[in-house]
């Protein structure tokens, strides 16, 4: 920073040199900071690549005698991780789809409504989205035990300890955020398009499906990426609303599997990284959507 500060005051030829020098300083600074930033992750990778025997003998803070992927293989097979990834998919995929479906409908319908009502609804949803989940957990838990749900949707006839219960709470909480983003987005769409459709005699449903949804594709893609990560990373809801250990999605299962399978740091590090990989991949592939999703609404669910 201080190097670049001087830029404006210098004369032209030395200035360019200073610019160059300031650039070098900036890169040096960023490289140092980024190395520190990524270090905890690299350390976890390092521990996960070392056999237990090695670290038990020399301690974690030591040079390696061997490095291999055995911990990853063990974590993957012993704890049956693929099974828990599947649990996550069972929850996350419907939750993301339903959330986007409901919130895009709501956002669309609100653009047709009186602005005062529109605003009130947005406040209701956004405020709900921002509440700490712990505030509602006890009554929610009680509701989950008492609302009857027919059989194909729920094995035990209620919402508690069921995938549908977890899907539902994600939908309810995330809808607040998505409605906020989508209604802002929809207001940027040219009004003429929908008006033309109305003149053509299209019904509301047709306008929503054939006009608005296609136009919202970028926003929906951004939200889908973001919501998938939010739901994948959830720990709290699954911890308190899923009682069966083997039904837990992978993030909350990790804690549960720790004592039984990941009995040492090396295995735990390998398992943690395995659990982290999908979100990292999603981020690297959909980086642009990801950032756009966050910055469209700029609040997090």
């Amino acid at each position: 920073m201080s190097a670049s500060m001087t830029v404006a005051t210098g004369a032209v030829p030395p200035r360019r040199r200073r610019v160059k020098r300031s650039r070098v300083a900036l890169h040096a600074f960023l490289i140092v900071v980024c190395s520190i930033w990524i270090f905890p992750l690299l350390w976890a990778v390092y521990i996960s690549l070392r056999p237990l025997g090695d670290t038990a003998l020399h301690g974690d803070f030591s040079l390696p005698s061997t490095l291999n992927f055995q911990n990853f293989i063990d974590a993957w097979t012993q704890a049956n991780l693929p099974y828990y990834y599947l649990n996550t998919l069972i929850v996350a995929v419907p939750a993301v789809i339903i959330t986007l479906f409901l919130s895009s409908m709501l956002a669309f319908a609100l653009t047709r409504a009186a602005s005062r009502f529109n605003l009130f609804m947005l406040l209701l949803f956004t405020a709900g989205n921002l509440l700490p989940p712990q505030v509602i957990i006890v009554p929610l838990y009680t509701l989950y035990l008492h609302i009857p749900i027919p059989h194909p949707l729920s094995e035990n006839g209620i919402l508690y300890d069921q995938y549908i219960g977890i899907i539902l709470i994600h939908v309810v909480f995330q809808t607040g955020f998505c409605v906020f983003v989508l209604s802002n987005y929809m207001r940027t769409l040219p009004r003429e398009l929908t008006e033309a459709a109305i003149v053509d005699g299209a019904g509301i449903g047709t306008i929503y499906l054939n006009v608005i949804l296609p136009l919202c594709r970028p926003a929906l893609a951004a939200l889908a990426t973001l919501e998938f990560t939010f739901i994948y990373n959830d720990f709290f809801w699954a911890l308190l609303l899923i009682e069966t250990g083997s039904k837990r999605p992978i993030t909350s299962a990790l804690n549960n599997l720790q004592g039984q399978f990941f009995t040492n740091n090396n295995l735990l590090a390998a398992a943690s990284l395995l659990v982290a990989i999908p979100t990292v991949i999603v981020y690297l592939i959909f980086r642009r959507q990801f950032v756009r999703g966050l910055t469209l609404g700029a609040t997090k669910g």
């Binding site: 209701l124 940027t188 109305i198």
Partner: protein, 321 residues
């Protein structure tokens, strides 16, 4: 980002008043069927939101006036008035430490993590080779679950095997630093781990805001002879007012919601008490002190409503202006 901005050209607010009659006529064009569809589109999500968020919120307030344990039927006998609050404020030892820890969390975010995120955003908001790589590095922790963040940092903080004590050479019985066990320092250790994630989050938000600042403003200021620091504080920062509000709200809300890390590390005890962990440890636990836990929930609700209301009135003002 611009969607929040009051002066954003895309903002429909300014046109709102004029359009109401138009909308009305549009509504009258709707067929009965369309009205039903619109009703469902609004009604279904609203019903879910009311039943699963707002009803439980109100119920928490009601339960906080009882000594219900959840196992037997709730009767008039369970009503204890404000007794839970009285005990909470005067005699319950973990309460004030929990408030203090939430405050530490907030202050650290406000004073260190958030400014650091802004600082990185400012550094990266220029033509810079490898900028995307730097951004990815800062942003990587944000995509990780807090559970993973917790495990990764436990590896750094472990007393005899951890990296930090290893590099400091303090792994012996007499000189080790118990980062996560010592109740005097563990909250700071956890807040640092939380910041690892928070900084990248703020950076991305701010960077997006900076990109939308009109470059003409900076050029004009530069021509006037303003230094880079001056340009940022005198020109860019004020223009960024809407994003600044969002960042403040995100920071405050994230501090109040802090839960996962403390819970993963030691269930939020022994120096890591937070309002959120006190609620679950009291009400959804073997103890099952639901009335008492609900009183803590109401305290957290009240505190949370402050930033939420400030934020929303701000948004509302922007949109109706």
């Amino acid at each position: 980002m611009t969607d929040f901005a009051p002066a954003s050209p895309a903002s429909p607010g300014g046109a709102g008043a004029n359009h109401i009659p138009v909308r009305r006529s549009r509504l009258s064009l709707l067929s009965r069927r369309d009205k039903v569809i619109l009703g469902l589109m609004i009604g279904v999500p609203t019903f879910l939101d009311l039943v699963f968020i707002w009803l439980p919120t109100l119920a928490s307030i009601g339960l906080s006036l009882t000594n219900w344990n959840g196992a037997t039927a709730l009767t008039a006998k369970n009503f204890v008035g404000l007794k839970n609050y009285q005990f909470l404020f005067t005699a319950y030892t973990p309460f004030w430490p929990a408030v203090a820890h939430n405050l530490i969390w907030l202050l650290f975010f406000v004073c260190v993590a958030t400014p650091l995120g802004i600082f990185f955003a400012v550094l990266l908001d220029r033509e810079l080779r490898g900028s995307v790589i730097y951004q990815n590095v800062f942003y990587l922790p944000v995509v990780l679950s807090l559970v993973i963040v917790g495990f990764i940092w436990e590896l750094q903080y472990a007393p005899t095997d951890g990296f930090i004590n290893g590099i400091l050479g303090r792994t012996g019985q007499n000189d080790l630093i118990d980062w996560l066990g010592n109740p005097g320092i563990n909250i700071w250790a956890v807040v640092v781990a939380a910041s690892w994630r928070h900084v990248g989050y703020i950076m991305v938000l701010y960077l997006a805001g900076l990109k939308s600042v009109d470059p003409g403003l900076r050029e004009a200021a530069a021509i006037d002879g303003a230094g880079e620091r001056q340009i940022f504080f005198r020109v860019v920062f004020p223009v960024m007012a809407p994003i600044n509000v969002i960042i403040v709200v995100v920071t405050v809300i994230e501090s109040l919601r802090a839960f996962d890390l403390a819970f993963i590390i030691n269930q939020g005890t022994n120096g890591l008490e937070l309002l959120s962990t006190l609620i679950t440890n009291n009400s959804l636990s073997e103890a099952s002190l639901i009335g008492f836990g609900s009183a803590i929930a109401v305290v957290l609700l009240t505190i949370s409503l402050v930033p939420i209301v400030i934020f929303l009135t701000r948004v509302m003002r922007d949109q109706t202006a």
